[in-house]
């Protein structure tokens, strides 16, 4: 059933979301304009057939659209439909976000077309020939198309830059997904494939390497030069050239905007890659432990992948260890020296002496012996003494103070035993010794107990 084209287009635009879905498929699949038939049938059943719009249900069937050249081909074997090019362009025109940027290939095609027209004009017989008029008509159409394409391209790039900006802003919303690596790839691709070619195309000072190759601007300049004797035509071409090249500044602005984000995204991406590498490094160690055996299956503290970090080391729960309070394993410092010095000051230095038995000592002088005996005879002794040797030693030390020697004790003991009757002594088996100066004396303890006379 043939349908009037205008009415059909209006109906298509009523259901533009269905066709945008087809456009998205085209954009995502190398722009071949081919879409699997099943996609359209599903969309038709879901969004068109279920409506009460009987006109749409009838007009927008697969067969109807194929018959009316909206789908230029329906390949039954491959199960694909091919969309009309103008439908794609119209949809892209309606929705700027779905529009495609001009790539370097697109610009090269345009440049080649201009150069081809220029070479044909340059070789034709003159401005009065029919061929010249045909070529100029072709040239003017090409120039107008290029102007609209470049203008459209600037709009698309601006939208793309805004999209990048929106995605970048998501990094500040910590609950929305933001992948620095993806954004970096998108930015790089936008720069390389679209922004730089656009800049080069519209750059009035651009030159191309390669014999005989002219830039778009150079071709237009040749046209202007060619029409130098027809100033009206030359100026008309000049205006169009200026219109195209004036977009250079707009693209430059887009470039500057993208570059600002690029710097930040580059840092984020570098962080992302570092973390990826750190995690993969650790993952390599884990992979070695996937052996299924019962031993050596856990990550250990001696791994290089862990020991390379120094932010902190050997954190532990110290309270559980009851470790000694003073450990000198730490590197030597002034604290160690001060502590040693303090210890040294508090330590009494005792000279080590080899003691000899007092019985090997030289005999005391008679004069000294006489002094001790006389002192003992005159002294008022206690009646009850637990250890006679110690007792006499103490008393003699008191009497002779610093002149006392252990040999004096021998004289003192001799006098004491002479004075006191031996029946008052009790001998004990406990061995004791006395050290005084260079001599010692071993002895068995003897105590003294003298009964007081009872009073009747």
């Amino acid at each position: 059933m043939k349908i009037q084209k205008a009415s059909l287009l209006i109906k298509i635009l009523e259901y533009k979301d269905v066709f945008f879905t087809l456009l998205d498929y085209v954009n995502d699949n190398d722009n071949s304009n081919d879409v699997p038939e099943i996609i359209y049938l599903q969309l038709y059943n879901k969004y068109i057939a279920k409506n009460d719009d009987s006109e749409a249900s009838l007009w927008l069937t697969l067969e109807s659209l194929t018959e009316n050249d909206i789908f230029v081909h329906n390949d039954k074997n491959a199960g694909t439909i091919t969309l009309q090019a103008f439908l794609i362009e119209t949809l892209r025109f309606i929705d700027i976000e779905r529009a495609k940027e001009l790539s370097s290939t697109d610009f090269e095609k345009i440049r080649e077309q201009f150069q081809s027209v220029w070479e044909s004009i340059n070789n034709c017989s003159g401005i009065d020939s029919d061929l010249y008029h045909d070529l100029m008509a072709n040239f003017n159409e090409l120039l107008t198309t290029t102007l609209s394409k470049v203008k459209r391209n600037v709009e698309v790039l601006t939208v793309q830059a805004d999209d990048i900006a929106t995605k970048f802003e998501l990094r500040h919303d910590h609950n929305t997904s933001y992948n620095a690596n993806d954004l970096y790839q998108k930015l790089s691709s936008l720069f390389e494939k679209y922004v730089y070619p656009s800049l080069e195309f519209t750059n009035p000072k651009m030159e191309l390497s390669g014999y005989g190759k002219l830039t778009f601007v150079q071709v237009i300049d040749e046209f202007i030069q060619y029409h130098s004797k027809s100033p009206k035509i030359a100026s008309q071409i000049g205006y169009k050239k200026t219109a195209v090249t004036s977009f250079y500044k707009d693209i430059k602005k887009v470039l500057e905007k993208l570059e600002r984000y690029y710097r930040f995204v580059e840092i984020d991406r570098a962080n992302y890659l570092s973390i990826e590498k750190a995690f993969n490094h650790l993952g390599q160690e884990v992979e070695l432990l996937r052996h299924g055996k019962s031993r050596n299956k856990y990550l250990t503290n001696d791994l290089e992948v862990l020991n390379q970090y120094h932010t902190f080391k050997h954190l532990a729960f110290h309270k559980s260890k009851f470790s000694k309070k003073l450990a000198w394993k730490a590197p030597l410092s002034t604290i160690h020296f001060k502590q040693w010095f303090e210890d040294l000051k508090d330590t009494e230095i005792v000279e080590e002496v080899d003691h000899d038995s007092v019985f090997n000592a030289p005999c005391i002088s008679l004069q000294r012996e006489k002094e001790i005996i006389e002192w003992c005879m005159a002294h008022d002794w206690d009646r009850n003494v637990d250890d006679i040797h110690q007792y006499i030693q103490t008393e003699l030390k008191k009497a002779f103070s610093n002149q006392y020697l252990l040999t004096d004790l021998l004289a003192g003991l001799e006098s004491f035993f002479a004075i006191v009757d031996s029946k008052f002594y009790q001998r004990h088996p406990n061995k004791e010794n006395i050290i005084e100066g260079k001599y010692y004396m071993d002895y068995l303890i003897i105590s003294l107990t003298v009964q007081e006379p009872s009073h009747v």
Binding site: N179, A180, S274, A278, N301, Y309, A330
Partner: protein, 186 residues
């Protein structure tokens, strides 16, 4: 002059293997100077001497934004270190895949309960936690025990977890080490 109350708190924190950071999170969710850190800085000689004489190395004297102690002469990694390293690397990986790393450092960000659930459900993270013998019922529990309790992550009043000063220092160290070396995917 040292503050007795703070001194006791510092002792408990350090002896329990915790790190004392320069900043803490206050009630409005922003970072503010940590009073315990300031106390140490103001009486640095006393505190460092106290722990050095008790046989510990007082780490942080070199101007780090955090302090901790370790037994003198033990400059090797402990079981607790291993668990902390690996839990932090798990968190870094999770965040870098989905968000900007600012999420971990900026006060407006932080790991939410949703994020922790996502980490708990990730099979590669589960395997790593198992191999590291984290020992907790779940990774998020391990994060609470080893990172939050030891002050590597700070909890905002709303519950999200952000990196403390020592946590951020570790993040910077990881970025520094791996910025110039190539590692194959595993």
């Amino acid at each position: 002059m040292f503050d007795k109350r703070k001194s006791i708190e510092i002792y408990h924190q350090l002896m329990n293997g915790k790190v004392i950071n320069k900043h803490k999170i206050v009630n409005d969710g922003t970072r503010a100077e940590n009073g315990l850190y300031s106390e140490i800085i103001e009486n640095l000689d006393d505190y460092s001497k106290q722990y050095i004489m008790a046989g510990y190395e007082f780490v942080g004297l070199e101007g780090l934004p955090y302090f901790y102690i370790r037994e003198a002469g033990t400059d090797y990694i402990s079981d607790l270190d291993r668990k902390i390293y690996i839990l932090l690397l798990i968190i870094f990986r999770y965040v870098s895949q989905k968000y900007s790393m600012d999420k971990l450092t900026h006060e407006a960000g932080g790991l939410s309960a949703f994020d922790l659930e996502e980490i708990d459900n990730d099979e590669s993270f589960k395997e790593l936690a198992h191999k590291a013998q984290i020992g907790a019922a779940s990774i998020s529990k391990g994060i609470e025990t080893n990172l939050v309790n030891k002050n590597f992550m700070l909890a905002k009043p709303t519950g999200e977890l952000v990196l403390s000063d020592v946590g951020q220092a570790f993040l910077e160290e990881v970025k520094g080490i791996y910025s110039n070396i190539e590692i194959d995917n595993y």
